[in-house]
């Protein structure tokens, strides 16, 4: 997606506002939340203690509305895409088909009832959702010079769990920002991405073709019913998928992952997990402010026991550094508590 000069200037303005939120407003809001949470207060008591706190209120307002305006303002992403609709639709409809299997499925309720990330119409109602989501996702972290940088870091982490996987499944792959680095790292592996969004998958197929990744294929489908044979993958991954699922879908995905993994195969997922009450307060609030309503339930889901109950072993839940030094105690900017959740299907 190309920006108009006005759109580019407007998005730069929003990036500046987001950067201000992350490095100037957040430290003060964090102090206020830490005070409110002191003494082991429950979430609702802490919220009550924060009532009337200006810094926390400004933080919440900006967090919600920077994202809101990013999509819906006069020079927002939706308007920018609309101006290019004919060209973008033509490009997307000509996406390479050899490695792309589209089969419009029933959209599950957990997905259809939410405009995730405040994306109008969510990611399945309009083919332009693909390029719009990509434009949004690649401007979320101000200062990032590599839009896929976090995913390359995650791909490096995968090497701790697997040696040379030959069959890899990436769940909820979106426009391919997670599957593409994996396919680049293991060229000899067959990598498959599954997602519900046709617009995202078409964009992903174009990008795989541009990168000459013959080992990367995409398929439209629901991650709770993968539609693959038993025991056919060595590695199942997901990034930022699990917190977008309601509790039933979350459990179904884990079950499906266990079913399709070969004995000895690994499940490695990048998502969010709060490490302390303050982080939890911000994370659950972020879920509300950014239209990710399953975030709080996901954050408190007992992964260890649930994965164990399915038969998984070697379960680990560890912080992930999306940028160098991000998990250090002195890191003062706002960030999401990135976490790697991994498990092994016994051989």
């Amino acid at each position: 997606m190309e920006y108009s000069p006005e759109g580019r200037a407007y998005q730069a303005f929003l990036v500046g506002a987001k950067a201000f939120l992350m490095d100037s407003l957040y430290p003060e809001a964090r102090d206020a939340v830490a005070d409110a949470c002191r003494g082991g207060k429950a979430k609702d008591e802490a919220a009550e203690a924060l009532r009337g706190n200006a810094q926390y209120a400004y933080f919440c307002w900006l967090e919600h509305y920077v994202q809101h305006f990013k999509y819906t303002a006069r020079f927002g992403l939706v308007a920018e895409a609309e101006q290019q609709r004919d060209r973008l639709v033509a490009v997307l409809q000509n996406s390479p088909t050899e490695k792309l299997a589209l089969s419009p499925a029933d959209v599950p309720e957990y997905y259809s009832v939410v405009d995730t990330h405040q994306h109008p119409g969510n990611l399945h109602r309009d083919i332009l959702a693909g390029p719009i989501y990509k434009a949004s996702a690649t401007t979320t972290q101000p200062g990032s010079t590599n839009a896929y940088g976090l995913h390359y870091r995650f791909t490096d982490v995968l090497e701790r769990y697997v040696d040379k996987p030959l069959r890899i499944l990436d769940l909820g792959c979106g426009f391919g920002k997670s599957a593409l680095p994996i396919a680049q790292k293991w060229r000899e592996a067959e990598v498959e991405g599954v997602d519900l969004s046709e617009g995202c998958l078409r964009l992903a197929a174009i990008e795989a073709s541009v990168e000459h990744l013959d080992n990367l294929a995409y398929r439209q489908g629901d991650v709770t019913d993968i539609g693959a044979p038993d025991q056919c993958y060595d590695l199942v991954t997901s990034t930022m998928l699990l917190h977008e699922l309601d509790s039933g879908a979350l459990e179904d995905v884990m079950k499906e992952a266990y079913r399709v993994l070969a004995p000895g195969g690994r499940l490695v997922q990048l998502d969010f997990r709060a490490r302390d009450p303050v982080e939890q307060f911000f994370l659950h609030g972020h879920g509300q402010r950014n239209n990710e309503p399953y975030m709080a339930a996901f954050d408190t889901f007992d992964f260890e026991h649930y994965l164990q109950s399915l038969g998984f072993s070697d379960i680990s839940i560890e912080p992930f550094e999306e940028q160098p030094g991000a998990t250090a105690p002195e890191f003062a900017k706002w960030r999401l508590p990135w976490t790697v959740i991994a498990a092994r299907k016994p051989a």
Binding site: E6, R8, A9, Q55, A57, C60, W61, R74, G285
Partner: protein, 87 residues
């Protein structure tokens, strides 16, 4: 326990009118940013697009700076030498 929508929900500033006022300010600031960029391009005041983007980001920081300025709401309203209670 209250549900999360109430815990973290709107109005973020405690009053829907304040939220709207802040929204108006944000919209206005965005329009000014776009206008600034147009002027910079027309007058060739900026070397390239990345310079314009940097300027827009700096502009946003300037707009929102009062939110973290502890002295901002301490501005004296009384003019020195003007006795209170008069006028």
């Amino acid at each position: 326990m209250k549900d999360d929508v109430e815990l973290f929900g709107r109005p973020y500033l405690g009053d829907p009118r304040l939220d709207r006022m802040m929204g108006m300010l944000f919209s206005l600031a965005g329009e000014v940013a776009v206008l600034n960029a147009k002027v910079a391009r027309l007058t060739n005041a900026a070397a390239d697009e990345s310079a314009i983007e940097g300027e827009m980001q700096a502009f946003a920081r300037e707009v929102f700076k009062p939110l973290v300025d502890p002295d901002f709401d301490g501005t004296p309203l009384r003019v020195d030498g003007f006795p209170e209670g008069e006028g």
